[in-house]
Subunit: 149 residues, 2 copies
């Protein structure tokens, strides 16, 4: 099981925007530079986040991107769902489950249980926490740098 790059980059971009919350807005270029994500690749990521209504540049094209909601109101799972319809670690779960045995399958139950557990966890963490954590890490970093002078 691997997390895809879009979701990972998407989270990092969103943390960056969350740290800018209440600020001046951020251009794609700025996010790309700060997070070292290919500018062109970020195109797709921003597009997905925008389509899902998680970010917006409502004050005009050159106003920069902002979170569309409060950081507290955006969970990690919200961001995950910008890149995949839903978390579904196996296909037998959910509507389009092709497996006929799923109704009487202990394995299916197992994966379904894990799936729920992961969703629950991703839903319990919001951008506010992550931004605060990142800010703390950044400060710690700056302090560490000072001692090296």
């Amino acid at each position: 099981m691997k997390l895809n790059t879009k979701t990972r980059y998407g989270i990092r971009a969103m943390i960056e925007l969350a740290m800018d919350w209440g600020g001046k807005g951020m251009f794609q270029k700025e996010i790309s530079e700060r997070q070292e994500i290919s500018y062109k690749y970020l195109d797709h990521i921003i597009s997905a986040l925008k389509t899902k209504g998680l970010i917006s540049n409502v004050d005009g094209k050159k106003s920069g991107y902002r979170l569309a909601k409060k950081p507290e109101e955006i969970s990690v799972y919200d961001i995950y769902k910008a890149f995949e319809p839903a978390l579904q670690i196996v296909d037998c779960i959910g509507e389009h489950g092709e497996c006929v045995r799923a109704k009487n399958c202990a394995a299916s139950d197992l994966w379904c249980g894990l799936n729920n557990k992961i969703i629950e966890h991703l839903d319990s963490i919001n951008l506010s926490e992550l931004a605060k954590k990142q800010q703390a890490l950044n400060q710690r970093d700056e302090k560490a740098d000072m001692y090296y002078i």
Copy 2:
């Protein structure tokens, strides 16, 4: 995030063997037919499970496969690890993490936390539980069939 087929098939094969625990042993062909897994593909799965010491056919080649340990002593994560060295949903976790930012990255922390949660969950479930559940499901199924006569 998707679970791969080998792990899924591997679990199903192991549940089948767990239900046979204390029994006569099962041939690859038998497992393949019961679980509707391609006989040839099952080759690789059985090979991996055997290499990891989870199953054995110690009483001779034609004795059939058995669990190498008690069902209670084999966790889902043990089986998972037969097909991947370890669960690692992102690469920045662990020894070969290539990401320089990982030490000061809230995102990395996030995925690391999720990773641990998943491992904990997979480690908390053992084959004994799964086999019992599957047996219950099978019986329920047989009963249901009766009513349809």
